[in-house]
Chain length 216, copies 2
Amino acid sequence: MTNESQKTPSIPTVRRLPSYLSVLRDAQKQGMATVSSSYIAKKLKLESIQVRKDISSTGLIGQPRIGFSVPELIDVIESFLGYKNAKDAFIAGAGHLGSALMGYSGFKGYGLNIVLAFDVDSQKVGTKVDGIEIFHLDKLEDLVSRLRINIAILTVPDAVAQNVTDVMVKAGVRAIWNFTSVKLSVPDDIIVERVDLVASLATLSSKLKQSILSNE
Amino acid sequence: MTNESQKTPSIPTVRRLPSYLSVLRDAQKQGMATVSSSYIAKKLKLESIQVRKDISSTGLIGQPRIGFSVPELIDVIESFLGYKNAKDAFIAGAGHLGSALMGYSGFKGYGLNIVLAFDVDSQKVGTKVDGIEIFHLDKLEDLVSRLRINIAILTVPDAVAQNVTDVMVKAGVRAIWNFTSVKLSVPDDIIVERVDLVASLATLSSKLKQSILSNE
DNA sequence: TAGATTGTTAATCGATTAACAATC
DNA sequence: TAGATTGTTAATCGATTAACAATC
């Protein structure tokens, strides 16, 4: 049963919700009607109390002794994360990384609908990758503002990242998923979410170093 | 001046250190001999006290009124993150994403040296991408164990991620940089660092939702 | 009923931020 | 010296975890 009491969730909670969704979709495939918080927790190597806390921020109420209804929980997480009406997005930079993201069909089930791409390479302009047409970067401002696309996926070379960003902001983009290693300058009301590979690599190296130190 | 008192740093600290390094390398190019914590903080939109705390966990001592020596700080962060002797790594899965990472020359300056790649596509086997030779996946166990490569970059399709992981573990891999959306099962002593795009996307969507709600 | 699992309230933990004496 | 910036110690903040009454 849904409930109006949705809280503004913390970032860590928001990051975990998609993984719950994936467990729930599996459970549904197996014909399970309900799941307990400890079931989800076990699958993801988390604590059940954490799962319960996270779910509570979506406003869904479970049933003591039973757990949570699988379809209801799927539904509430999907709408909570905005997966119900996938938002249009475009890719700036159709290199290897951009192409990888275009091919990542998984995004459609996760609220993102990539509708077009831009690149400066005249070899690529006019072609399609996984059904997504590539336009020349010169067309970005006009096309994006006319189509009113809010979300940009930035996969251009670092050297041009800021310039391209400036154009995207002019075109009315409201959120940028930044795969470059540039710290972008944008107006305060523009959301930038960076996928920071170097930070991720640093934690891997650091953990490996600790593990080697403690084992030898 | 370095100091023996290196603490085990927190994950958030480790994630920020590479960004300090990037600011410092820029500063060095501009000929700056010292920087203050507030200089770094300003560049990265952080608080100076946080920068100072993070630096203190590397053991480097600054000078009141002066700040930190740029070359010393670069040096200490590089060795702290293990960038001094770059570690060998291989890529499992030479698709778009794998190729993008092979081309990402930036990693060499960040402690990672990608030495070979594996794929099942016979069209790709034997070719090179950015100087990195692609071998058939069948050769993985033998080659990786003989060359004693500790770090794997996993960019195979989700469906085979666990199988390939099992082989890599058998081959003696100690750390896996996981770009798939699979929650891998590995022995306790194997480090897995996952780049969770769906979690990152969820925070972007959530922030965008908040921003739209508060503006309208 | 008995017992499994929930939601809530409180305790703990760890990271960030503030305050400030030390220092060159 | 005066003042900018450090390192340390304490306070705050927020997330996680624990405890437990409520409930079907």
